[in-house]
């Protein structure tokens, strides 16, 4: 019986979601929540409140007690007033994606949203959720008058590749928790889920560069070659702390390699493994190399990423792994 009810409920919910999507269409970014897309219903607490008021109404009529009725009506008026306030708290709020942060499979990807309030009244207790009914209240944020606030949504990364944020719900139960107003947002955003790195059990093959020390970009880690100004993304291990202590500013030590100038991690070097294991292994190597501050490149079926260093480079490589489609070997 309960299962039947549940499945029925799920079907109604799906219908409703489709209807809302048809009605609103995909949303733009930035998005302003207009009045006509905000839904409002009483919370369980609000229903209990209504039941209490109904009991009071019956009692007041039964005892012909006008003051009791006055209290009932006052509370009813209060409930209805909070309904309008609840709706107004959401109407006109602006949403803008700050960042879609990638994560590894098994972990989470994060969508960080900027909430903008262009009105003269503050908007307290705004909550972002994946589902309206999800019991666990997130942590509601207050968007001050003419101010901004930040809220984030976490999605579990189940498989590598794009993790789209199909829909989410902006809701509030302000001011008394008797009503919940919500708006469904269908953003056109997605984050990348990187493959989960494998265990550290296989050392990367060492690939010597073919041009010796002539290439500028070929930076190894054996012979000290000089200093260059620090750039964000450089490993802290390579920072010339002695020079910094002398007051010469932050510099990064550069080495020129003779035996190994750089790593180029190759798909083809892992021929004994399946696709996902290879990706996991490449991911591990990339992470380790980045951790040590080494330069690396990546060669995959269908494309190659030049040897480089830094966070942006690491992310580019990881994205390439995440989005690799072996069947038609198109590299993003």
């Amino acid at each position: 019986m309960t299962r039947l009810l549940q499945s029925l409920r799920a079907r109604v919910e799906r219908r409703l979601q489709r209807w809302i999507l048809r009605r609103q269409g995909r949303d733009t970014d930035p998005l302003e929540l207009r009045r006509n897309r905000i839904y409002i219903l009483p919370t369980p607490l609000g229903i209990a409140y209504a039941v209490m008021l109904f009991a009071m109404l019956l009692g007041g009529m039964n005892y012909n007690n006008n003051l009791g009725l006055a209290l009932t009506f006052l509370l009813a008026g209060l409930g209805l007033t909070t309904m309008h306030h609840c709706h107004g708290t959401l109407a006109g709020l602006r949403l803008r994606l700050l960042a879609a942060e990638s994560g590894f499979v098994g972990d989470h990807v994060r969508f960080r949203w900027l909430l903008e309030n262009a009105s003269q009244a503050s908007r307290p207790a705004i909550d972002l959720r994946l589902e309206r009914a999800s019991g666990s209240a997130g942590c509601p944020v207050e968007v001050p008058a003419l101010g901004i606030a930040e809220a984030e949504l976490c999605l579990r990364a189940e498989r590598r590749g794009w993790v789209p944020l199909e829909r989410f719900v902006v809701c509030t139960a302000h001011p008394l928790g008797l009503f919940r107003a919500w708006a469904v947002v269908h953003p056109a955003h997605a984050a990348v889920a990187w493959p989960r790195p494998s265990a550290r059990d296989r050392a990367p093959p060492r690939t010597a560069t073919d041009t010796g020390g002539a290439q500028l970009a070929a930076v190894g880690d054996e012979d000290f070659a000089g200093l260059r100004p620090f750039q964000s993304g450089d490993s802290l291990r390579r920072v010339a702390w002695k020079a910094y202590a002398r007051g010469q500013g932050l510099h990064t030590k550069q080495y020129a390699g003779t035996s190994v100038l750089s790593h180029v991690f190759e798909w083809d070097s892992l021929s004994g493994l399946g696709t996902e294991e290879r990706l996991a292994q490449l991911c591990r190597w990339i992470l380790d190399a980045h951790e040590r501050g080494e330069a690396f490149g990546l060669r995959l079926p269908g494309g190659e990423i030049e040897v480089n260093v830094g966070v942006a480079h690491r992310d580019r490589c990881l994205n390439a792994l995440a989005l690799l489609d072996v069947r038609n070997t198109a590299l993003a």
Partner: protein, 636 residues
């Protein structure tokens, strides 16, 4: 919470209050010191124990009294586990319900501000529970709650005035247990004088037409027939036929508004001739009885005839026996002997006997006082022959006993006599201090005749009320008031306000709703009109409320240069020119001037003025005027 419980304290058993206080205090210290809350099983035991205790005290869990006690205990139990927002919410709900229960008990004018205050306080509590996540300050929360309440009041008012009222009780209600001041259905010496010590309002009367003279203002309460030597009682069985009444003279029409007294008497003016038959009945001895005990402020439209002949033709034997009976154990022998000697002297002429007995009261040194001496066993004998100091019940009782001994059917009538006219409200106030007792004598051909022996002793009691009749040192309520004319005015004014409250708020009902609609211009108001008016006005309020909320969330006003720039953009749009997403005002104006050389001159000046007005150190009024002029004369 404390505010919600406070009005119940006087009605609750002491242990309930003490328990709540103890739990509250414990909880307070626990939260300060960080003690752990009691385990679950202990709380369950506590709740079960509380329910049992209430049940054993009241023998029920139903009804206002027991229900309130139970709620208070539940609140105490909830305090034991108050932790999550949910528990606090439940606590607020309980507080609301307690507030409601208190209103069922008491509906005076002063309870209205108290209602608003405690509703605000409990809402604030809920608000605080809900805003726990945000770090809002108490003062701003309180202000916010107040704003919410203010907006709720109009809606509440509309609902109050227009929400359809279904008359009558749907289930049985208990009004009896609460003790109220008022006349009882029995009387012992001292009862009426005790009642008279209270200045509380018993009822108010509004006359449609002439007011009866003070000596005709006898308000009829319970009639007492049974005497046991000390106490007069109303007979339990009412199985006597009602004797017919013939009314003469002009009728007096009036509306009587009773304060709740938990009894059925309607205290009509002697003798009622017409009343709403669905809401009241008349007993065989002409007392008007409401269909239910008067548990709330209740009004009746009545007609009375001060001149009447009641049961003139005959007196049934059973009634004659009842109203001649005296205690068989021979108490009050001297009074009985007095009665017999009167009967012997006048040979059964009832009128002569009455006249002689009243003359005795008048001529002997009888004294009218609110503080009569204590009487022991033969109350009537002691009063008549020894103390000779008494209040109206002493005189009525003694008179009735002597008359019965003389063979004349006589009974005691209790009620009120007199009343004070309130010029501010145009009505008569009858207080508990106007409580009175008199006698009714059955005389052949005249029927039941009212005889007030108090008049013989203290005629000023009837004309001028209690204050005029008793000595200056007696505790008459309102004596202080009489000393100062100003204070008297204030009190009468306050009473008029209370009366207005009772008439228009406490007694507001379906009839008053229709009346209101008709006065608002709806002819033939019926339920449909009521529904329409309700929906209509609610819709108006909803629209204005949402408009107000939207207005609260309005963007800040733009400054003048910005507004003028908007105007420029609007005008340039006609030429298909619009600012890009990443284009500032100045950049846009410069591009416009480049692309449209015919407008270049004014646009360049606008750009300069705009920049200096908006971002410059000293905006000048003249520049702003020039800017306005340029923008308005821009003709793309």
């Amino acid at each position: 919470m404390a505010v919600a419980v406070a009005p119940h304290v006087t009605h609750l058993p002491a242990w309930v209050t003490l328990l709540l206080l103890a739990v509250g205090a414990w909880r307070w210290t626990a939260s300060l010191r960080g003690w752990p809350l009691p385990p679950r099983w202990l709380r369950i035991v506590a709740v079960g124990g509380a329910a049992l205790a209430v049940f054993s005290a009241y023998r029920t869990l139903n009804g206002i009294e027991a229900g309130t006690a139970l709620l208070v205990l539940m609140a105490a139990a909830k305090l034991l586990e108050t932790d999550a927002a949910r528990d606090l919410t439940v606590l607020v709900f309980i507080a609301w319900f307690l507030l409601y229960a208190a209103l069922l008990r008491e509906q005076s004018l002063l309870s209205a501000p108290w209602l608003l205050f405690s509703a605000w306080l409990s809402t604030l509590a809920l608000m605080r529970v809900h805003a726990a996540a945000t770090d809002a300050r108490s003062a701003s929360l309180a202000r916010h709650t107040l704003a919410l309440m203010t907006q709720a009041v109009p809606i509440a008012l509309v609902l109050f005035l227009l929400f359809p009222r279904l008359p009558g009780p749907f289930w049985g209600i208990d009004t009896g247990t609460a003790s109220r001041t008022g006349l009882d259905d029995e009387m012992t010496p001292g009862d009426v004088s005790d009642l008279s010590a209270s200045g509380e309002v018993a009822f108010r009367v509004r006359f449609f037409g002439a007011m009866p003279a003070p000596e005709e203002r006898y308000w009829r309460g319970p009639v007492l027939h049974d005497f046991d030597g000390r106490r007069w009682r109303r007979p339990d069985a009412q199985a006597f036929p009602q004797q017919p009444v013939r009314f003469t003279g002009a009728p007096i029409r009036y509306q009587i508004t009773l304060q709740p007294h938990a009894r059925r008497w309607v205290l009509a003016l002697d003798l009622p001739s017409a009343w709403p038959t669905r809401r009241a009945v008349q007993s065989f001895d002409y007392t008007l009885l409401a269909a239910r005990p008067v548990g709330s402020v209740t009004a009746f439209d009545l007609t009375s005839h001060p001149r009447y002949a009641a049961g003139a033709t005959s007196l049934p034997g059973s009634m004659r026996r009842k109203d001649l009976s005296l205690p068989r154990d021979g108490t009050n022998p001297r009074s009985v002997a007095l009665g017999r000697s009167l009967a012997a002297r006048h040979g059964g002429d009832a009128t002569a006997i009455v006249r002689e007995l009243l003359a005795t009261f008048r001529e002997q040194p009888f004294e009218y006082t609110m503080q009569p001496p204590q009487l022991a066993d033969n109350t009537v004998d002691e009063f008549l022959f020894r103390t000779r100091k008494g209040f109206c019940e002493h005189y009525a009782s003694a008179f009735t006993v002597v008359m019965r001994a003389a063979g004349v059917p006589t009974r005691v009538v209790t009620g009120y006599q007199g009343g004070e006219y309130n010029p501010y409200g145009g009505y008569l106030i009858v207080r508990q201090s106007d409580a009175h007792a008199w006698s009714e004598v059955w005389i052949a051909d005249r029927g039941w005749v009212r005889v007030d022996p108090t008049v013989a002793v203290a005629p000023e009691r009837i004309r001028g009320g209690l204050i005029a009749a008793v000595g200056a040192d007696e505790p008459v309520p309102g004596r202080l008031r009489d000393a100062s004319a100003l204070w008297m005015e204030v009190e009468l004014g306050w009473d008029a306000v209370n009366d207005f409250w009772n008439q228009h708020i406490v007694r507001f009902d379906a009839a008053a709703q229709f009346d209101l609609l008709e006065r608002a211009g709806f002819d033939d108001a019926d339920w449909r009109t009521l529904g329409l008016a309700l929906t209509g006005s609610l819709a108006v309020f909803f629209v204005s409320l949402s408009a107000w909320v939207a207005w609260r969330h309005r963007p800040p006003p733009r400054d003048w240069p910005a507004r003028l720039h908007d105007a420029v953009v609007r005008r340039l749009r006609k030429r298909g020119l619009a600012p890009h997403a990443a284009e500032g005002p100045v950049a846009f104006l410069e591009r416009a001037a480049r692309e449209h050389p015919d407008l270049a001159r004014p646009l360049r000046e606008i750009t300069v003025l705009y920049a200096s007005e908006r971002y410059g150190p000293e905006p000048r009024a003249a520049d702003l005027q020039r800017l306005k002029y340029l923008v308005n004369s821009l003709r793309p």
